[in-house]
């Protein structure tokens, strides 16, 4: 390890001789700290678009087919007279899902914090390849731009649901959005996957090779463990989605029949023969399910770190936490079939996937109990990041528990594709991962920008968001159990559901309030960059290495030698020390024993 450290210190000296221009510093930067900010800001902008879309379609569900000046203003020809068109409703739902899952919670979350924290927490000068890192961000940027452009094509953006099941997504005559809109969607996602793979490979190599002296794998903070395992899942599963996307492009543009067969549409028989949409579902969910863990694991890692630091206590069960991350990662790749119980695949496969799916509850339960035990008898510092971490555990439990219903093939028959599913996955991976992301921003903001965010605005942001999140998604379980299918433009075609209309209004009102209060966060975020209080070296008094680096960002992270590590990352309130935290770079005192973890 020491050889790495020396060579990097050398490169660093070298680097200082070059004058950084505006372009190399802020745009085509190869510095992991700058790239992480680029990811965060791009992800935030995409997030604003995604949330705005959700508020629009929520308004349509609550007040169906009523003229709405917001629609008239923003949707143009798709809302004649201010009444939302059914096609654009499906497009909004589709793009909302795509943006939130991939662009915000994958790139925005993992891209930001893996980039920021991996080198800083393992004691490296930068990522293994700064150049690949830069390419990774710019591919992500390019894919974001293409996705946004797809919103403006003549026949409308992709509208087949974020899962883009063929044949709906393959045939422009089946749906307007399956023309140019879907082509752009596929191109955008292909580029996105390339970006994600470059990033993931970089993270894996960096964690394996560039740990500083003394930073053994069992001394790594749980954040790095989570990012590391997430990157591995990404490398294993994202290429499968790429292949699915490429095969779909073939079917769409070159007349192959991978996913299509025996289709009669608009008065004519199409030539496709022998393909199967079920194959696409398998390929899609082979990524699609691990994807939810790609989204949630980094959040789990950050929450573990933030909870320990703010509880002034070691994380409870460090080894069990690592084991459960690994177990979740492994299981995540063999459960995809639970999205397909009623797809027409052999029911025996359904049995297998029920078994593997419910197993995932075990490591998840271990994690939840470990977090709760971590705050037990702690000295909880209620910083905003801590509130979001507690909120994370709360929504993760609420949303996760209904997984035992959806993962059970027999029960899935009746709640599949209803609002029950929407409630489940939004709480367990949508809201939870978003909380993880907010927690991360509030916690590491001083590290990113050298300034503090306003805590009182943070408190307002958290409490309103927390109430609205439950207000939006909790009642959805009940309309789902009443049989209301998702992706319905309006429920007025079914008098059976008339008694659920008032629930939908309540949900929408919560959604609008919750969405509007994200402005508090945006204000706090952007204004604090320039006017926030200057951050001290280690504001949360944490043990990890990133807080030993100077507040002012320098290329190479540490002036002079990089710190060596002598202990694990969770020596909080350790008996025998005067202060309630001992950073990782402090050598063991004489006679002090490192915890046998």
């Amino acid at each position: 390890m020491s050889t790495h450290a020396d060579t990097h210190a050398h490169e660093d000296d070298h680097g200082h001789h070059h004058k950084e221009t505006f372009v190399t510093k802020y745009i085509f930067s190869q510095d992991h700290k700058m790239i992480s900010k680029q990811y965060l800001i791009t992800g935030t902008i995409m997030g604003v678009i995604g949330v705005l879309m959700s508020i629009m379609f929520r308004m349509q569900i609550a007040w169906p087919e009523e003229p709405n000046i917001l629609f008239e203003a923003l949707l143009g020809k798709w809302a004649p007279g201010g009444v939302m068109d059914a096609d654009i409703y499906l497009a909004l739902v589709t793009i909302h899902g795509t943006i939130m899952v991939f662009f915000v919670l994958t790139a925005g979350l993992s891209g930001t914090f893996s980039n920021l924290l991996i080198p800083l927490q393992i004691g490296a000068r930068d990522m293994a390849s700064g150049f690949l890192n830069m390419i990774s961000y710019w591919l992500f940027f390019l894919s974001s731009v293409i996705m946004i452009i797809s919103l403006f094509v003549e026949a409308g953006p992709a509208a087949a649901g974020w899962t883009i099941y063929p044949p709906l997504s393959a045939l422009p005559m089946a749906q307007g959005g399956s023309g140019m809109g879907m082509t752009l969607w596929l191109v955008s996602m292909a580029i996105f996957i390339a970006s994600s793979l470059l990033g993931s490979l970089n993270y894996i190599v960096t964690v394996i090779n560039l740990r500083t002296k003394g930073m053994s794998m069992t001394r790594l903070p749980l954040t790095v463990w989570a990012f590391f395992v997430t990157a591995i899942i990404g490398v294993v599963s994202f290429p499968v989605l790429l292949s699915a996307a490429l095969l779909l492009i073939m079917d769409r543009s070159f007349g192959t029949s991978f996913f299509l067969s025996d289709i009669f549409i608009q008065g004519e028989v199409l030539h496709y023969q022998g393909g199967s949409p079920v194959l696409f579902e398998h390929l899609f969910w082979f990524l699609g399910h691990p994807e939810v863990y790609i989204v949630i694991l980094p959040a789990m890692g950050m929450v573990s770190e933030i909870m320990a630091s703010n509880s002034r206590k070691p994380i409870f069960g460090y080894r069990a936490m690592i084991a459960s991350i690994l177990a979740i990662a492994f299981l995540s790749t063999i459960v995809w079939g639970h999205h397909m119980f009623i797809s027409g695949m052999n029911p025996f496969l359904g049995s297998v996937f029920t078994f593997t799916t419910l197993l995932i509850a075990i490591p998840s339960a271990v994690k939840a109990f470990n977090w709760i035990t971590t705050i037990w008898k702690g000295n909880l510092q209620m910083n905003t990041a801590m509130l979001f971490s507690i909120g994370f555990v709360s929504t993760f439990i609420t949303g996760g528990l209904t997984g035992i219903i959806l993962g059970d093939s027999a029960l899935d028959i009746n709640v599949h594709d209803t609002y029950f599913v929407i409630a489940h996955f939004h709480l367990v991976m949508g809201i939870s991962a978003l909380y993880g992301m907010f927690a991360g921003v509030y916690h590491w903001y001083p590290r990113m920008f050298g300034r503090m965010m306003n805590k009182n605005l943070g408190y307002i942001h958290f409490w309103v968001t927390a109430i609205c999140a439950y207000g939006v998604f909790f009642p959805m379980h009940f309309i789902g159990m009443a049989g209301l299918p998702r992706r319905y433009y309006t429920n007025s075609a079914f008098p059976l559901f008339d008694d659920l209309a008032n629930v939908n209004v309540v949900i929408t009102v919560f959604a609008i309030i919750g969405g509007a209060f994200q402005l508090v966060f945006l204000y706090n975020f952007f204004v604090s960059i320039f006017f926030g209080k200057k951050a001290p070296q280690n504001p949360w008094r944490s043990t990890t290495l990133e807080w030993t680096a100077p507040v002012k960002h320098i290329h190479g992270n540490w002036p002079g030698e990089i710190p060596h590590v002598y202990r694990w990352a969770y020596d909080y309130s350790k008996p025998g020390h005067d202060v309630d935290f001992v950073p990782q770079n402090i050598p063991l005192k004489e006679g002090e024993e490192e915890l046998q973890h």
Partner: protein, 355 residues
Amino acid sequence: MTAFLTIIIVLFVAVAIWQMVKIFDLAQVGVSNSQIATDNDNKINAYLMLAFLAFIYIITIVCFVKWGDLPLMSNAASEHGSQIDNLMIISMVIIFIVQTVTQFLLHYFAYKYRGEKGKKALFYADNNTLEAIWTIIPVIVLAGLIIYGLFTWTSIMNVNEDDDPLVIELYAQQFSWKARYGGNDNTLGKANVRLINLDNANILGLDESDPNAQDDIITTEVHLPVGKPVLFKMRSQDVLHSAYMPHFRAQMNCVPGMVTQFGFTPTVTTAEMRQTPEIMEKVANINRIRVEKSKELAAKGEPALDPYEFDYLLLCNKICGKSHYNMQMNIIVETQEEYDAWIKEQKEFKDSLIK
């Protein structure tokens, strides 16, 4: 012009919120210079954690009281439906207990162990016994759920051909359903979308030379004799659809290029179901809502809504395009005699063709 004005107004609202936040922000200058939580912050947020716990409990209770009488979660109209409902209730009870306890621990600890200056946290990093306990308990509970679930699943999905089920094809297209009965021989004739001929009204692509197809009956409503096992064969002509029959706890995707299936036995006729207290209450409630809505419509000069009468439904539950939200078909469960009378009136395939 209105579009422009709306954008301006939305922008102004956003600016107004922004400015209010800014005033709030500036008003705090001098109150506290530190952006790190103080003892006072810890205390306030700790109490809010307790309040939030109460909020979670309240929203749970409100939801259960207001919307928890779920006629689609009890009152199943099929033989296997009660199995699903039992498993659902067991799962819900387990969820309810775990949710109540864990949320209590989480928020109560957050309240109880709020930070204070000078307090020292307990250095407590590991306990193998505890880890073992909360690994083994979920293992046991889940093992039970998995075994129960798998038995239920297998018994639902196993189609017993010895029961001589009534075979019905559910045929999906954008955006309507058709049903096809096997006729006297209870055997569906061969079919493929390539054989569709709209000119002679062979709309489902039946093989006109297949003897089994001659007596097939194509309808736009499903009628089922009560108590008789039925086996649905699903087919789609264009995109994925999903045949969702929530009252019967039945659902299966319709996949172009393949035939999928789902079988069940209806146990309650439509007429009986309309008389159950749950459904009567639900229908009365819906009709109250529709009367209110009709008043609003009348004020606008629009026609009033028809009163609602309960019927079993087949819904499309897989996104299939523009009118996905209105792709439905009635299912009528009736006595064998009523069913026989109805089916006799339907046209056989060979007679429905335009020669």
